[in-house]
């Protein structure tokens, strides 16, 4: 879509390095930067300044103003080089969206650069690839974010909204028809209900945002593979019970870790095997279910495995769809022979007991989870959903503000249409034709 709005994104990978760069591009960028920094920015001159929200200093760094067309995107562009880790960066991004910027779509900076003639023809293909690749990761991230409770709530909000619009639009388009739509009063009530529902969801999504910011990892393996021990040693705390009895762990045990500034949520699971123990089986089911939508699955194999084949992996996690998989050879303090890896997945060797290989493992993890600038993190996806929810809420507010009478029904209908448009950004387009389908299947219409 050709847009001339202002976009913002982090230009550096989260959680890595000492400096983080946030880039804003578009007509509003200078205004936003000057509001947040309280400084007057001059073209091409680095200005030291803080980002202040209320009375709190969020981060301090350097602001640089590139005047379009002499910038990366060809538009007015601002770069802020700060020191903040992921949490701070997310806070800054939120602040900027509140001041009128929009979170950039994947690949959007490069796309703008290309469309504004800042990147030459030879790179056109690369841009297309980039847009494509990033959109895949964006879709994945969005899907991950759109799971479980959150998705249920959104879907229920949307179906209530559609039902309401169906009633109201039928009222408008078919007044002569023999339909018995809800009364005006119930419309007001439904508007209030939907509004409350959206409000609650925004609140809970905000509270949940901290957890959603982390990358999700699941440990999976046969009983006694050493999953719980690995969790304990990464957490540096005896979180999970460790015994030499196979089938010790039953429940999912989750822990949030901070690895080099990157938040990682790690889940220990029941060992996979066939058993008749009802409790253990339930644990195994939960383990399998925990694989849904995570960022990385780690399959653990201990000294019983001299070689690891695709079959051994499949035995644990079924046929992996698009989840990244990594292999860990555990307990290397007791078996020094290199393991024969016949799979396409990377293999690392660790000992939970001695801590050997753990540093390499952490670094490798960061690389795996290195959500490059173009890739979409679940956090960003969720953040974007939140923005749309807030927009929808604004329109619902407007709809609710009208003293809903038959006279203002066309205005209310307009606000509801806009609210639905905002929600459609999350779940896909809902067209006027879809609305008609809903009307025709709800009411008998046809003179």
């Amino acid at each position: 879509m050709i847009r001339s709005d202002t976009i913002v994104a982090s230009a550096t990978a989260p959680g890595r390095g000492a400096i983080s760069i946030i880039r804003i591009s578009g007509p509003q960028s200078v205004k936003i930067a000057q509001t947040l920094s309280g400084k007057t920015l001059k073209p091409r001159i680095a200005t030291l300044g803080s980002i202040i929200s209320g009375s709190e200093i969020i981060d301090t760094g350097i602001w640089i103003y590139f005047v379009g067309p002499h910038s990366f995107t060809g538009e007015d562009t601002i770069e802020f080089q700060g020191h903040g880790g992921p949490v701070v960066i997310q806070t800054i991004l939120c602040l900027m969206t509140r001041h009128g910027a929009r979170l950039a779509e994947p690949g959007e900076f490069s796309q703008r650069a290309f469309l504004n003639g800042k990147i030459d023809l030879t790179q056109a293909e690369a841009i297309s690839d980039l847009i494509n690749a990033s959109s895949v990761s964006a879709v994945k991230a969005a899907n991950n974010s759109l799971q479980g409770h959150f998705a249920d709530q959104i879907n229920s909000i949307i179906s209530n909204l559609i039902a309401l619009r169906t009633q109201i639009e039928a009222h408008i388009d078919f007044p002569d028809e023999d339909i018995n739509p809800q009364t005006i009063n119930t419309f007001s009530l439904t508007i209030t209900n939907i509004k409350t529902h959206i409000g609650k969801l925004i609140q809970s999504a905000k509270e949940g945002a901290k957890l959603n910011r982390s990358a999700e990892i699941v440990l999976i393996g046969e009983p006694n593979a050493g999953k719980s021990s690995l969790l304990n040693s990464l957490a540096q705390a005896p979180l999970a019970i460790v015994t030499d009895i196979p089938g010790t762990t039953r429940d999912l045990i989750r822990h949030d870790l901070l690895i080099d500034g990157l938040e990682v949520r790690i889940t220990d699971t029941a060992g996979i095997r066939s058993t008749t123990d009802i409790i253990e089986n339930e644990g195994i089911n939960r383990a399998i279910a925990a694989l849904q939508g995570v960022d990385l699955v780690l399959c653990l194999f201990d000294d019983r495995h001299q070689q690891i084949s695709e079959d051994s992996v499949q035995h644990l996690i079924g046929i992996p769809s698009n989840i990244p998989v990594g292999l860990l050879s555990t307990k290397i303090d007791i078996h020094r022979k290199p393991v024969d890896n016949q799979t396409r997945y990377p293999l690392l060797e660790v000992s939970a007991k001695t801590g050997e290989g753990l540093d390499e493992f952490r670094n490798w993890l960061l690389e795996q989870l290195d959500l490059t600038t173009h890739a979409e993190t679940p956090f960003l996806a969720r953040q974007r959903h939140l923005e749309h929810l807030k927009n929808a809420n604004l329109h619902m507010d407007a709809a609710g503000r009208h003293h809903l009478t038959i006279e203002t029904i066309d205005l209310v209908a307009e606000d509801l249409r806009l609210a639905q448009n905002a929600l459609s950004e999350i779940t896909g387009r809902f067209t006027s034709d879809d609305l008609l389908t809903s009307i025709f299947s709800t009411f008998c219409i046809g003179k």
Binding site: I2, E407, T408, I409, A413, I445
Partner: protein, 628 residues
């Protein structure tokens, strides 16, 4: 008719699309020929004798804003007028006229016969003359060839029309008129995408056989509304009422028992009907638990005893039709004068048209009306206007005219048709218009008359009237802005009783009117502000002030849309070469052949990512072009 002449525009068909098309082209000074089966059926209403209604009256007013015929003729032929949604907001109000079928036809014919530059000729058209993918004229049924610069086809339901009554079927264009099979066959030999649609009409009833005692009367509004800007209300004939009857449990039983005799339900008709319920069979089947359905008994005219029972369209056999009618309230002794029927006909995939309604496959050839997959007189008439005007522009070597989604329901309809195509007879609804608050029945002139004047569609009389009206609106707005009301004023006490928050500072009448709780009439009554002499001006001003916030926001939305509207997709673009597009998206783009990025983005399944890829591809083409 001088057959040696090279006409500027030949219009095929004198239905609602054809008459507007021919009239538009002639108004623009083109030497225009209207060829139709029968001069007697010019402007014939094939189905229900009514013009306007929700969504549709917007189209009628848009035709009128360009000085077209439909609104004027409906005012002269209307025997019951109502404003629907009267109490709802102005954007969704709609005027509807019950028309005298005979008067309508007469006035339409009179208007056409008295139009300069327009020749009318009674003949059927059997083929098109096409040379190098360009139309050059038509072939008449009697064999004569006529040359023209452009051709507009408006053959309605006539192309390979097939009429069904029960299991019985016969060719026909509508009851009493022959189908147009020769033209249908020759068009099928051309590269057009053709499919079938169906529609139906109810049996007619002799009014003298109906017992009105227990039926609810539905009179028209007073004062009687009118449709055309040029009307005053004095042109209306005598006004009469409609009556409301209902189907009963017995009706339902009859239909359920005889469903196997319905060509639609027994599979005889292959054409697609709409998702809404056009026939009583549909209503009973799809809404089985609804015990009764309303039926409006609408008089067909002042000189006829026939009634049009609106709501019981059916293609069941005649015997069943009679049982159905007699099971309705007040109709136990009813006499049917004509049977109801369903009709199946060819329509042309509108995705093969561009936004001027010109064919993408054959140059200088335009399609308008029911053959584009729509249903309704108003939908047909509005397309006729657009196609006729564009054919004229082409003949005159002038730049074409398109109507945006933000400019009119006409624009919404054409854009929907050409970008999305249609799977059912397309009918206008206000919910199809995303800029509904901007596209009102009351401001069609503001949206279109100036453009119409530039095109040569709008005559001097309407133009004068329009300008005077615009000036009055402007003056009235300024007057309200110049009147101040102060908290200390004597009238403020009165006002405060109505205001949700009392007046705290000096305000203009204009500001006061912005408040939802204040109406123009309140200003007059409570604040001693002189009333404008013309209620249509004061109501226009009230709407403009009250809606301004919403209209501004829609204007913003429209501006964004405009940008994408301006990025054109070349006709020869090779979608298969575009990196990254999924096969599904490629196929969709191939099928729809959108003209602009905006159109592409409205095709279902074309994602924002696909649009990004298209933009990158376009830029690449541009750069390659520059380089070479």
């Amino acid at each position: 008719m001088d057959y040696t002449r090279l006409f500027d525009v030949i219009v095929v068909g004198g239905g609602h699309a054809g008459t507007e098309a021919a009239h538009a082209a002639a108004r623009m000074g083109c030497d225009t020929l209207l060829v139709t089966h029968s001069i007697e059926t010019l402007g014939q209403m094939s189905c229900n004798p009514a013009i306007g209604g929700i969504g549709k009256s917007h189209l009628v007013r848009e035709i009128d804003a360009c000085d077209g015929l439909m609104a004027k003729v409906a005012d002269q032929a209307g025997i019951q007028f109502r404003v629907l949604n009267q109490r709802k907001g102005p954007a969704v109000r709609a005027t509807r006229a019950q028309a005298d079928r005979i008067l309508y036809r007469q006035h339409m014919r009179y208007a056409l016969e008295n139009t300069s530059n327009l020749t009318i000729f009674q003949q059927s058209v059997s083929d098109l003359l096409i040379d190098n993918d360009k139309v050059t004229g038509v072939v008449l049924g009697m064999g004569l060839k006529l040359q023209s610069k452009t051709v507009v086809i408006t053959a309605g339901t006539f192309l390979a029309g097939q009429i069904h009554i029960g299991m019985n079927q016969q060719p026909g264009g509508r009851a009493g008129d022959p189908a147009s099979n020769e033209l249908a066959n020759s068009l099928r030999d051309r590269p057009f995408r053709i499919a079938r649609l169906k529609t139906g009409t109810p049996p007619r009833i002799d009014s003298r056989s109906v017992n009105y005692r227990n039926l609810q009367e539905q009179p028209g509004d007073t004062p009687t509304p009118y449709l055309s800007m040029m009307s005053t209300g004095d042109e209306h004939p005598r006004q009469i009422s409609c009556y409301l009857s209902r189907t009963t449990e017995k009706t339902r039983d009859i239909i359920v028992k005889n469903l196997h005799l319905s060509p639609m339900y027994s599979g005889v008709i292959g054409g697609v009907g709409p998702r809404y319920c056009p026939s009583i069979e549909d209503k009973i089947v799809r809404f089985a638990d609804k015990p009764t359905h309303q039926v409006f008994l609408e008089p067909e005219g002042l000189t006829s005893h026939e009634l049009y029972p609106n709501g019981v369209s059916t293609s069941l056999p005649y015997e069943v039709q009679l049982d159905i009618v007699r099971s309705m309230e007040g109709c136990s002794d009813a006499i049917i004068t004509r049977p109801g029927y369903a009709i199946e006909y060819d329509f042309f995939d509108p995705r093969d048209l561009n936004s001027t309604l010109e064919s993408k496959l054959v140059a200088n050839l335009y399609f308008a009306g029911q053959i584009n997959g729509t249903t309704g007189y108003e939908e047909a008439g509005a397309q006729g206007l657009l196609a006729g005007a564009n054919a004229a522009l082409r003949a005159q070597d002038r730049e074409s005219w398109t109507v945006g989604r933000d400019e009119g329901y006409l624009g919404v309809m054409v854009d929907d048709l050409i970008t999305l195509g249609t799977q059912e007879p397309y009918r206008m609804f206000t919910s199809r218009a995303e800029y509904r608050l901007t596209l009102r029945e009351d401001n069609a002139d503001t949206r279109l008359t100036e453009k119409g004047r530039m095109l040569g569609l709008v005559g001097e009389e309407l133009w004068q009237k329009f300008q005077a009206r615009q000036e009055q609106i402007h003056n009235e707005l300024n007057r309200l802005k110049s009147i101040w009301v102060r908290p200390s004023d004597r009238c403020t006490n009165n006002l405060n009783r109505v205001l949700t928050a009392p007046l705290s500072k000096e305000s203009t009448a204009h500001d006061l009117l912005k408040r939802p709780e204040i109406h123009y009439q309140d200003l007059v009554e409570l604040a001693d502000i002189a009333c404008h002499s013309d209620p249509s001006i004061s109501s226009q001003v009230e709407i403009l002030v009250k809606y301004s916030g919403y209209i501004d926001r829609q204007t913003d939305e429209i501006k964004k849309l405009k940008k994408n509207e301006q990025v054109r997709l070349p006709i020869d673009i090779d979608y298969s070469k575009i990196v990254g597009l999924s096969n599904e998206v490629k196929q969709k783009l191939l099928d729809h052949r959108p003209q602009t990025i905006a159109q592409a983005s409205r095709i279902s399944g074309v994602t924002p990512v696909a649009i990004s890829l298209l933009l990158v591809h376009l830029k690449k083409l541009e750069l390659t072009h520059l380089a070479s």
